[in-house]
């Protein structure tokens, strides 16, 4: 078969056995791969109301059909399940090489269920799957763990692994691949940890077929030249994500001191120009021509990142403008396996509670010394880490100040405050995994390009979010990376190789919409209803900066949310109508 391997590897950690099942090709046609296919399997494998910490919660690992070819950026892999952090769908992505290599090993998907009686590593070498007691790796940090796995088993293998944070089931523990690539959000690491699974390592020697390989190579070379190595995408190679620091700071939407402001006085010490001074080289994910990753070195700390989200949440949101401290902090989060977005939110909140005299966590805005101790404390749930581990929503509620916690559906917010980019309020509210900028990104038109006003919220923003979400839901089936600004025409050129016929924009949009509705159905099934965002974003304007004094307003927000639901064919509680599900050819119902 071309592109797909047609095989799903099902791993049961309880019995420590593995089986291979054929990939459901009916679903592959409806949902393509990646996000969509993962969600369809998730729906099938779970009962309503399932406890996300239970052994039944599946960890579903799925690249897209183009993984293992030379289609740029498509090494990405989704890690899915029910989120231990939020209870919504979990779909978290990472680059690196795991997605491609698992295809060479012969699998389109790996599904892990059950719970091992002791900490275990799973080793996959083509058809061979083995389960190894992992007591010797317990508590091991990412770099040492990956090096040990390569030494102990196979120098060519790549792994998904958790650090101490995942072993301790921290709700926002992440999963690491190739050291710096993280399936960051929603608690992928907590899910792995709940299965007593320290690492899944894979090595593959097999082949991914594409039909006429030489014709395919010629076409990809053309697409690379015409659509990837272009001025539109070049910023990711020249700058990388730190370029966003100046953009959001200038637009008044960079989280600062627990969202008290939208711009940060110390931004020029942690922006792209500052990081360029310590850049050593550019690095790429497997099968990617863009090479967005910056490898930095400063004093005795070296490594890739920090990326923009880390700079914003663990930098400005904590009042930190010391680039050395930020490098060190990012390194510690990589090593212990922490999502930096959630970590930066929780720390900003703890600093805020401390400085307002509500509770003294010993953390202060701008104090690097205490801040650098937090990753280890969180990952080991010791000291203040034991309490901070409850996460933003519970921590803010415990101290009687829910208004200070910036989260949606329990997932902490990324680095774009809606008060400087009004469209982001609808994007965050309707995102299928809680506060997330990777489903729709109105900030791109509102702040980066300025082609839509940043300080208005009306039906055009509802429509923008619908279209963007459909586009990205399809894109993440591919799985194309966010950093390739690929449009439907370009995706169609690649889909033509997959489906061996011309594929229209309408067809791709419909797959995206189908995937989006499936995520919605899952969340509704698990008890979520009408969408909300923190009140501060709607009613509490900034007092300084370009976005000072601007208010979205709760009434306006709800009017536009209703328009969004109407455009989606959903009722006022965000429930898809039967007509919409029929139109989309959906094969599931609540």
């Amino acid at each position: 078969m071309d592109f797909y391997k047609g095989r799903v590897l099902k791993i049961d950690m309880s019995s420590r056995t593995a089986d291979v099942e054929p990939l459901n090709m009916d679903w592959a046609r409806l949902y393509v791969g990646g996000k969509g296919l993962m969600l369809r399997y998730l729906w099938e494998l779970t009962e309503p109301g399932m406890d996300p910490w239970s052994p039944e919660n599946p960890l579903i690992i799925a690249p897209g059909p183009f993984a293992g070819t030379n289609v740029s950026t498509c090494s990405r892999v989704v890690l899915g399940g029910k989120s231990p952090a939020s209870g919504t769908i979990l779909d978290s992505y990472c680059g690196g090489s795991f997605g491609s290599v698992m295809k060479f090993a012969g699998y389109d998907m790996i599904i892990v269920q059950g719970c091992a009686p002791e900490l275990t590593a799973v080793l996959i070498s083509d058809d061979e799957v083995s389960f190894v007691p992992a007591a010797k790796y317990a508590g091991m940090l990412t770099a040492e763990l990956e090096a040990s796995l390569r030494t102990d088993f196979d120098p060519h293998m790549t792994s998904l692994s958790v650090g101490p944070a995942g072993e301790k089931k921290l709700p926002w523990a992440c999963v690491s691949n190739d050291q710096y690539h993280k399936a960051g959000r929603g608690g992928t690491g907590a899910l792995m940890g709940s299965k007593n699974l320290k690492a899944i390592a894979v090595a593959g020697t097999g082949r991914v077929d594409v039909g006429d390989a030489r014709a395919f190579l010629d076409d990809i070379e053309r697409i690379d030249t015409d659509y990837i190595l272009t001025d539109t995408n070049y910023w990711v190679h020249e700058e990388g994500t730190p370029v966003l620091v100046d953009v959001t700071n200038g637009g008044g939407c960079q989280p600062t001191r627990n969202y008290a402001a939208g711009s940060f006085d110390g931004a020029d010490k942690i922006n792209s120009d500052a990081f360029k001074k310590i850049r050593v080289k550019k690095r790429a994910c497997y099968q990617c021509t863009l090479a967005c990753r910056n490898f930095h070195r400063m004093d005795d700390v070296e490594g890739e990142g920090p990326e923009y989200e880390t700079i914003a949440l663990c930098g400005s949101n904590c009042g930190i403008d010391d680039i050395g401290a930020l490098m060190e902090f990012n390194h510690l989060c990589d090593e212990y396996g922490l999502d930096t977005i959630s970590t930066g939110n929780v720390m900003g909140l703890a600093m805020d509670l401390t400085e307002k005299g509500i509770h003294d966590f010993g953390l202060h805005f701008g104090d690097a010394e205490s801040y650098l101790k937090v990753p280890e404390l969180l990952a080991t749930r010791s000291g203040i880490g034991a309490e901070l581990a409850m996460g933003t929503r519970a921590l803010a509620a415990k101290y009687g100040h829910p208004e200070l916690g910036m989260e949606v559906k329990g997932l902490e917010a990324p680095g774009y405050d809606p008060r400087g980019s009004f469209g982001m309020s609808i994007a965050y509210a309707t995102s299928d995994r809680g506060a997330c900028h990777m489903r729709s990104f109105p900030i791109g038109v509102e702040v980066v390009e300025g082609s839509m006003p940043a300080d208005t919220l009306d039906e055009s923003k509802a429509e923008f979010n619908v279209n963007f979400q459909n586009h990205y839901a399809f894109k993440f089936c591919g799985i194309w990376c966010d950093f390739w600004a690929i449009d439907y025409e370009q995706m169609g050129m690649l889909m033509k190789h997959l489906w061996k016929r011309d594929v229209t924009e309408e067809e791709m949009t419909q797959v995206g919409e189908r995937v989006w509705n499936l995520g919605r159905l899952f969340n509704l099934r698990e008890g979520f209803g009408r969408d909300e965002v923190p009140e501060a974003w709607l009613e509490k304007p900034f007092t300084k900066g370009v976005s000072a004094g601007k208010i979205i307003g709760t009434t306006r927000f709800n009017e536009v949310l209703n328009k969004y639901y109407a455009l989606r064919g959903w009722d006022e509680n965000g429930v898809p109508t039967e007509a919409k599900l029929t139109e989309l050819g959906m094969d599931v119902r609540l």
Binding site: F104, G206, R207, V208, A213, E221, R283, C288
Partner: protein
């Protein structure tokens, strides 16, 4: 003589070279059968390229008792480009070392002497396989990150220096 080299400093570790190579020669994407490879340490970003230096090395040719490593004339015109830079389109004619499959007995003598580990026994055909510069359009270069990451080195003296440094 034309041959391919990977600059360890410029390589980003994307492995596109291995993917292009295997698809061209094997009919599908299979880096385990690529004729070159980049050894990447993901943590330290230290990268070491492994490529055939052709006649600049020729240890396989010297070791082969069957005369199965033969010299073939090839004109190489590399493709690939990047914004703001000229196309790397200069042609060069020279000699590559290829395996004469009728004479090769897969004895393994050449595998042992190759300093870069880029000649092996083919898993299906019982013969050695190695880089032949893809009939003049090396796919490793066509799919390299940018033309400055990996390039065909056209000078014999440079190859000699590289061998002296690495062996």
């Amino acid at each position: 003589m034309p041959h391919v080299m990977i600059s360890s400093k410029k390589c980003t570790g994307c492995h596109m070279c291995e993917l292009g190579c295997s698809a061209f020669h094997e009919g599908g994407f299979q880096p385990s059968r690529a004729r070159l490879f980049a050894e990447v340490n993901p943590t330290t970003a230290v990268i070491k390229g492994h490529t055939c230096l052709q006649t600049g090395c020729a240890k396989c040719e010297a070791a082969c008792t069957n005369g199965a490593i033969v010299r073939r004339t090839v004109t190489v015109t590399p493709s690939g480009d990047f914004p703001g830079k000229e196309k790397v389109g200069e042609s060069v004619t020279g000699v590559v070392l290829v395996v004469d499959e009728d004479k090769c007995s897969a004895c393994g003598d050449c595998y042992d002497v190759c300093p870069y580990g880029v000649i092996h026994e083919h898993p299906e055909r019982k013969v050695a396989f190695k880089c032949d510069l893809c009939e003049g359009d090396p796919q490793c270069i066509a799919f390299c990150q940018n033309q400055y990451v990996l390039a065909v080195d056209l000078k014999v003296d440079k190859a000699d220096r590289a061998i002296a440094a690495e062996v």
